[in-house]
C-alpha cells in the first residue's frame, strides 16, 4: 500500500503562482519537503485556495505554506495557528488576501473561515507565511525568499511535531494528483 492510498493523518499544502515571483515560495517549500520521508503526511502543491476546503476536510492537522505581504522584511517566516481551536481570522488577515498578486478572489483566510463556518476546519491548521519581496510576473524567487525556503520547511515540520526527517529513497512529485498513475 503506497502513501497515496492510505488516508493521510496530516496535509501540507503549498499555495501560490510560480509565475508571480515570490508567490511561488509555497511550491518551493513543498518541493523541498517532498524529498523527506514523512509517513502519513500528504504533501501537495495547490494553486486554488478554495481547494483547501476539501483537501483538509478529513485530517486533524493541516499546514499551509504561502507567500504573504505584511510589511515585514522579505524572507521573514511567520506562523499562525488558525484551526478550529484558534480565534477566527479577519478577512484581511495576512495582507496576502488583499494586496498580493493573488489570482484568486478567495484566499487562504476565506478558505479557513468558510471551513470554520461549515464545521469542516481541522482542529489544527497552521499557516506558514514567507514574506514576499516581489510578486511581479516572472519565474523564480528573489534572493531573501529563496534563502528562507529551508527555514519555512523547518517551520512546517515543527508544526507537524516532527524534526528533520531522513530523505526519501524516491521523492514524491507534490504536483501529481494523489493516487493517480501519471500517463507513461
Amino acid at each position: 500500500m503506497s502513501i497515496a492510498d492510505a488516508a493521510p493523518t496530516a496535509v501540507v499544502a503549498g499555495l501560490g503562482r510560480p509565475d508571480r515571483g515570490d508567490d511561488g515560495v509555497g511550491a518551493e517549500v513543498v518541493r523541498l519537503l517532498s524529498t523527506q520521508d514523512l509517513p502519513g503526511v500528504s504533501v501537495q502543491v495547490l494553486e486554488d485556495p478554495t481547494a483547501l476546503i476539501d483537501t483538509w476536510a478529513a485530517v486533524p492537522v493541516a499546514v499551509v505554506v504561502d507567500a504573504v505581504v505584511s510589511g515585514r522584511p522579505p524572507g521573514t517566516v511567520i506562523t499562525r495557528d488558525v484551526g478550529a481551536r484558534a480565534e477566527p481570522l479577519s478577512s484581511r488577515a495576512w495582507g496576502a488576501d488583499a494586496s498580493r498578486g493573488s489570482s484568486h478572489a478567495l484566499g487562504v483566510a476565506t478558505a479557513v473561515e468558510l471551513s470554520r463556518a461549515l464545521g469542516r476546519l481541522p482542529d489544527r491548521v497552521v499557516l506558514v507565511g514567507v514574506e514576499a519581496g516581489s510578486v511581479d510576473f516572472g519565474f523564480g524567487l528573489t534572493a531573501p525568499v529563496a534563502a528562507a525556503v529551508p527555514g519555512a520547511a523547518a517551520a512546517v515540520l515543527a508544526a507537524l511535531g516532527l524534526s528533520h526527517r531522513p530523505e526519501r529513497s524516491e521523492p514524491v512529485d507534490p504536483a501529481a494528483p494523489a493516487g493517480r498513475v501519471e500517463a507513461g
Partner: protein, 434 residues
Amino acid sequence: MTTTNPATGQSLHVGMLARVEGEGGMDIRIRDGVVESVALNIFEPPRFYEAFLRGRRWTEPPDITARICGICPVAYQSAACAALESICGVAVPDHVRLMRRLLYCGEWIESHTLHVYLLHAPDFLGYDGAIEMAGDHPAVVERALRLKKAGNDLMALVGGRAVHPVNVKVGGFYRLPTWEEMSAFRPTLQRAFEDALETVRLVATFDFPDFEQDVDYLALRSRHGYSIESGDPVTTGGLSFPVADFPRHISEHHVAHSNALHALLDGKPYLVGPLARYTLNFDQLSTTSQDAARQAGLGPTCRNPYQSIVVRAVEIVYAVEEALSIIDGWSGQPEASVPVPPRAGEGMGASEAPRGTIFHRYVLDDEGIIRDAQIVPPTSQNQPSVERDLQRAAQAWVDMDDEALTHRCEQTIRNYDPCISCATHFLDLRVDRS
C-alpha cells in the same frame, strides 16, 4: 476603509475590490450630484505572457498560457490549440473535439459556480461575503462547494489536474480517460445536475434592478451546439465573420487611465460573456436549460447584466447535461491526439471562456518557433462597456451614501465576473465628490 481628504471632500478608498478574480481599481468623480467620470484603473503587467511566448516552440502555449488564469486555464489552452493547429493545417478528429468540450464543461461548471455562489450571490442576499452567508445558509454553501468540486473533478478526469490541466497538448491529449473512469464519474454529474437546477431556482428569487444594455453583443456560434470550445464570431448587430478575420474587426487600444488594453469591435465598444452567448445562441441550449431559464423569468434574450447570475446558472445546467451527454455518447475511439508538424504562418483561434470569447493569434516560423503572440481575453474586451455601465449605475444611485454607492458599483462590476488576473494587477476604489 474610508478616508477623508479635506481639500477635495470625501473620498472612498477600498483596498481591494472584493470578490472578483485578481485585483483591479475604480475611480468615480462626482461634482454637484453629476457623475463626471468613471475610470477602471487597471495596472496590467507589461503583457508578460505575450512577450514570454516569443521564441518558444509551437507545442508550448497550452502549458504556458494555462498559467495566465487559475480559474479558466482550459479557455487559454483551447484557443491556443485552435490557433496553432490552424497554422499547421491540422483538424483534430471529432472525438478529440468532444473530449475538449467535455474538459471545458468542467471549467464552466467550476468557474460559474464559484462566481454565482461565492462571489455574486452575497450581493443579492445582503451579505458582505460568502463567509457571512455560510453562517446563515450552510446548506447553500455546501451545495456550492459540491458543485464546484464536481467541475474541478471533471477537469482532473480529462485534463489530468484541476488547475493547469497537464494532459492537454496541441493535437489533442496525452491520454484519454477510459470508459471505466468516465462511467465512474456519472453519479457525481447526476448529483451536479440536481444541484445545478437548484442553483437556477435559488437565483431566480433574487431582486434585479432594471437595467438594459444597448451595446453590441459578440459570441461564437458553432454548428456543433451551444458554443463552448469552438465556433465563429457573430454579433447582435448582424456581423458574422470567421475566427481567422478577428484582427480585422477587433482592435486593442491603450487608454490613458488604464494599463490594460481596451478592445473595440469595428471601432465601437462591445460585450462578450454569458449574456452574449445566451442572447445569440439560446436556440442551441438544451430543452431542460431553456425551460429552467423560462421558469426563472428569462426570455430568449437577456440584456440585463444583473440577471447575468441567472444566465450563468442556466449555463451550469447546460454544461452538466452536456458532460453527461458526451460521456454517454462516447464512441470509444482510442486515438488521443494527432501529430501537428510545424509550419510557418499566422493563425487565429477562439473559444468561449466562462467569461466570454477569448482570441489567440500566433505567428510561427518554419521550425515552429513563435515569432509573435497576441492574447485577447474576454475581460479586456468588456472594459469599455463595463465603464459605461458603471457611469450609468453611479448616476442612477448618485444620491445614495458613499458606502451604499460603493457597494452598488462593486456589484455592477461583479455582473461581469471580471477575470481581472487575466488582464490586470491591483485594484483600488475611489469615489471623489467635489
